[in-house]
């Protein structure tokens, strides 16, 4: 075989490898929209997206996913409130304040946090956080401990490795000249870090937050175990809610016909959410400095 022919063959092998992931995304898109859009049309886009009642087993059936859309948004927002401050402060500490010895422990620890399977997080939440919330808040606020609050704490912990990892890299990417200039002007170490280095890394930090949102909104197994999964409009911080992902997983096993298609359409909505998040991510990366 001539060298030229081998070149050509390998070129196509690499091209095939490169197109595999694009094909996967395209196929998933086609599958989702092909199955989901007709169901949405049959239910009626407004009845589907803004309907407040989800009752697939009733006659007539009702497929309103607004409770799940709000559930996903509330739980994700809660996770951001819990996870972002802890994550960013940890990243700043690790990049600028931490001793090398402690860093050797902290870095693998946060990476390990990313490697724990989500079902293990969920079980931890169910046997530790849920009883804790029930004991501490149940008396005054009611609820069984399975709530938006519990899910937010758990997801807040789960998005920490994403936020810490990306933020730390962004802070480390800021050239030392920023810090040195600030110190030379007479600012203390703390002031230099918080007022010169961190603002310069802000787009990278925002990226970490968006990636965290993506992780939180797509999380399924952990949320099912701690969120209560009530398919009704969220009624309070210490009451349960059902997320879009939970809705799909819980009912897919039994669903048939329109119910099944409605669940796929729920997947379409989730997919659009993720697309928006990715779009934001790309926009930020477009103007990213560090």
């Amino acid at each position: 075989m001539s060298k030229h022919a081998r070149e050509t063959i390998m070129k196509y092998v690499f091209m095939l490898a490169a197109t595999a992931s694009i094909m996967a995304v395209l196929l998933i898109c086609v599958f989702l929209f092909w199955n989901g859009i007709p169901a949405m049309a049959e239910i009626g886009p407004f009845n589907f997206l803004l309907g407040r009642v989800w009752a697939p087993a009733d006659t007539p059936q009702l497929f309103g996913i607004l409770p799940m859309v709000l559930g996903s948004i509330y739980v994700t927002a809660g996770a951001i409130i819990v996870g972002v401050p802890i994550g960013i402060l940890t990243a700043i500490f690790m990049a600028k304040f931490c001793s090398p010895t402690l860093y050797k422990i902290l870095k693998p620890a946060t990476q390990l946090l990313a490697g724990i399977p989500s079902i293990v997080y969920g079980f931890f939440g169910l046997v530790v956080i849920v009883p804790f919330v029930r004991e501490v808040f149940g008396e005054h606020f009611g609820g069984s401990g399975q709530s938006i609050f519990t899910a937010s704490i758990l997801l807040g912990i789960m998005i920490l490795p994403t936020i810490i990892g990306v933020s730390e890299a962004a802070i480390r990417a800021v050239p030392d000249s920023y810090y040195e200039a600030s110190v030379a002007m007479g600012a203390s170490h703390e002031r230099s870090v918080f007022w010169a280095v961190v603002p310069a890394a802000s787009s990278g930090i925002m990226t970490s937050v968006i990636l965290g949102i993506g992780r939180a909104i797509g999380e399924t197994m952990a949320v099912i175990l701690v969120a209560g999964n009530q398919a009704r409009m969220p009624t309070g911080l210490f009451r349960g809610a059902r997320t879009l992902t939970a809705n799909i997983v819980m009912e897919m096993g039994y669903a048939a016909e329109l119910h099944r298609e409605a669940l796929i359409a729920t997947g379409v909505v989730l997919f659009v959410f993720i697309l928006i998040i990715n779009l934001l991510f790309n926009l930020l990366r477009g103007r990213k400095k560090y």
């Binding site: 697939p56 530790v128 009883p131 069984s144 999964n229 009530q230 059902r242 819980m250 039994y254």
Partner: protein, 312 residues
Amino acid sequence: MNKLLALVVIVTLVLAALVGCAQGGQASQDNPTTQGTESPQSVVDQDASNFNTNREITVISRESGSGTRGAFIELTGVEVRGEDGTVTDMTSLEATIGNGTNAIMTNVSSDVYAIGYISTGSVNDTIRPLSVDGVAPTAENILAGSYVIARPFIIVTAEDIDPLTREFIDFIMSELGQEIVAERYIPAVLNAPAFQSAGHSGTIVIGGSTSVAPVMERLSEGYRALNPNANIEVHVSGSGAGITGTIDGLLDIGMSSREIRDSEMEQLGQQITICMDGIAVIVNNNNPITDITSEQVRQVFTGELSRWADIQ
């Protein structure tokens, strides 16, 4: 210095977390006023005194579409059927939803104020089944028909049936068939006879209840292992369709998860109860309540009763 400080902080955090876990786990068992050696009975009494009846009931249900949920809401009247053909599942919207029997049991065993329901075949000592209307959900009571949250799995056939269908029914009611049934349900016959296949060939068409279909699939697999000449088709269409299909001669065997009406029985040859499906209402082991009425079960699961004090 910094290193030492960080180490101290980490150790403190880990210890605090561990202590928090330990307290969370024992909170329902500790009673600060009494200590020392206690008999098991007084431990139960302590828990009963810790049980705050003014707390809300944590209602735990299965997901929509689950067979157990379908049977439960139908048998307890949580499901409301209107004159105009509408069916509404009135399960409280505040009910926590667990997907799967294990999720329900984990939830109930970890929450003193929880109530849930599972198939009687899955009951173990991590949770406690309640007596309904004074009757415990035991196999004997369910077979005797005194436990109300239970339903029969019935098969019906026309007047005259071919030898293959006859043999398949014999298989279901034999020792082997009832063993398959007993994996999930309560067998209808306790000392079932042994089974020997004569090797008839042909096709049996079975149709009807979605609840009976899974166990019928298992039975047909079991039968085909003994008689490979037989071909068995199991169609899923609902109890009503299974019965009318058998009356019209479209099906050899109809499956039903409800009692056969007299008007239907007049047009059928026979009905055989192959097993019973019972659903136990379960609570936490530390819950002092042991008995509930069927009306209270309905009210709890529709959200009309929301506090444990309402049940006592």
